[in-house]
Amino acid sequence: MNNSLAAALRAGLAAPICLTWELTYACNLSCSHCLSDSGAKAPGELTTGEALSLIDAFAEMGIFYVNVGGGEPMMRRDFFQIIEHAAARRVGVKFSTNGTFLDAAAAKRLAGMDYVDVQVSIDGHDAATNDAVRGEGSFAKAVSALTNLGAAGFVNPKISVVATRHNVAHLDELEALAGSFGATLRVTRLRPSGRGTHSYAALRPTELQNRELFGWLSSRPEVLTGDSFFHLSPLGDPLPGLNMCGAGRVVCLVDPVGDVYACPFTIHPDFRAGNVRETPFSRIWKTSGLFATLRAEPGPSSCSSCGAYSSCQGGCMAAKFHTGTDLADPDPECVMGRAREARGTVVSIRPRRSSVATR
C-alpha cells in the first residue's frame, strides 16, 4: 500500500468499508475469551424495525458489508429477516456463528442467499482443545453446522479461529479441518477484550508462538486474518491486508442496543461515539469527536523512535487499553521486545445484563 493511500485511509473514509454489528448479547455459549462478554440478552436491544432502518442507513452510505456477530446472532427470532433485508439492499453480510442453531433448514436458507458469508467459530483442531475455551459440546455443534452447510450446497464457508497458546501448534490440522469442509480458514488475534481481559494471560500465544504464527500465515496468503496481526509486521513482509488500526477510520462497531464504538474490541465508554437511537449513524461516523481524534495524526509516542514503527504503528489500541497499557506505549505483544509492564486490566463495560435468561 502506498503512503498517500495509507494516509487517506488513516484520515478516515466517507463511510466505513465494513462495520461489525453485534445483533444481540444473547448467547448459548460462554466462551472464556468472548470479546463482548455475551451471555444474556441486554435490555433494550434494537427492535426489528430499528434493525431494518439501520440497514437502510448502511445502504445509503454505501457500506459494502456488515460483520454480523453477537452474542449468537441466530438467537434473534428476526435473524433471517434482518440479513435478508441487508441482501436486498446490497449490503453484504459476513455472519459469525457458533453453529448451534445452524440446522439443515437454516443451512438451506443461507445457501439460497446472495451476499452472505458464514463464519463458524472453532478454536481448536479437536473437541478437547476447542471445548476448553468454548464450552463442552461446542466443537460438535460447529462441525454439525459445517456439515449442514455442505449438505445444503453452501459454497465456501469460513472456519474462524482465534489464535491461542493452545491452538497455534495445530494450525496445520485446523487447515486440514477447513479443507475437509471445503471451507476457508480465518485466523485472528486474541484480544484482551470482554471476558478476554480475564483469560488473555492464560490464552495469549507466547512470543515464540507469535513468530511461528506469523511465519505460517506468511506462507499462506489464502488464509484470512481480518487484518488483525499488523502488530507482528516487523517480523517480515506484511501479511495481505491494510495492516493498520481501522478503529473509527475504516471500521467501527454497532452493539445490540445501538451504541457505536470505535472497533469490536473497545466496548467501553471511553470508545463510545454515540447511539443510533439518538443520532443517525452517518452523522456519528462523520462528526464524532472520538473518531476525529482517532483519524488525526498520532502525536509522539514511546514507539516513535523505534525503527519498526512504520511497520506496526505501535500495534493494537484495544490490546493496549484493556491491559492497562498507555496508548502511546508499545503493544503488549510488541515483537521488538519493547512492551512495558501494564498497570492492570481494564474490563469492558457493556449495558447491564437482564436478570431474565433468554431462551
Partner: protein, 91 residues
C-alpha cells in the same frame, strides 16, 4: 472494435472517496481502489453501457492509453466487454 460495448459489472459497488473511489466486488469479495480520474470517468460512462469507440472519444484519451485503461478495468472485473448491462431484475 467499434461496436464492442463496455458495461459496468453489476456485482461491483463503487463509492466515491477523497482519493477517488473504493470498489467492492460482491462476487469475489475483493476490495480495491480507483485513483485515476480518467478510470472513474470511464466507469461512470459505462454505468448504463457504452460503445467502446464512443467512450474513447468522450474521454479524449490516446488510443494506447485508452486500451491500457480498458484492459486494467477489465482485469479488475469492473468493466465487462461485449455484454449488455444487467438490470436489477436480472441479477
Amino acid at each position: 472494435m467499434a461496436n464492442v460495448r463496455l458495461s459496468l459489472n453489476p456485482r461491483i459497488s463503487i463509492r466515491p472517496e477523497s482519493f477517488g473511489a473504493l470498489c467492492y466486488n460482491f462476487a469475489t469479495r475483493d476490495l480495491f481502489l480507483i485513483k485515476s480520474p480518467l478510470a472513474l470517468r470511464l466507469a461512470e460512462l459505462a454505468r448504463d453501457g457504452i460503445d467502446r469507440g464512443e467512450a474513447e472519444k468522450a474521454l479524449g484519451a490516446q488510443p494506447a492509453q485508452f486500451t491500457r485503461l480498458v484492459d486494467a478495468l477489465v482485469n479488475k472485473q469492473l468493466l465487462l466487454v461485449g455484454e449488455a448491462p444487467l438490470g436489477p431484475d436480472h441479477e
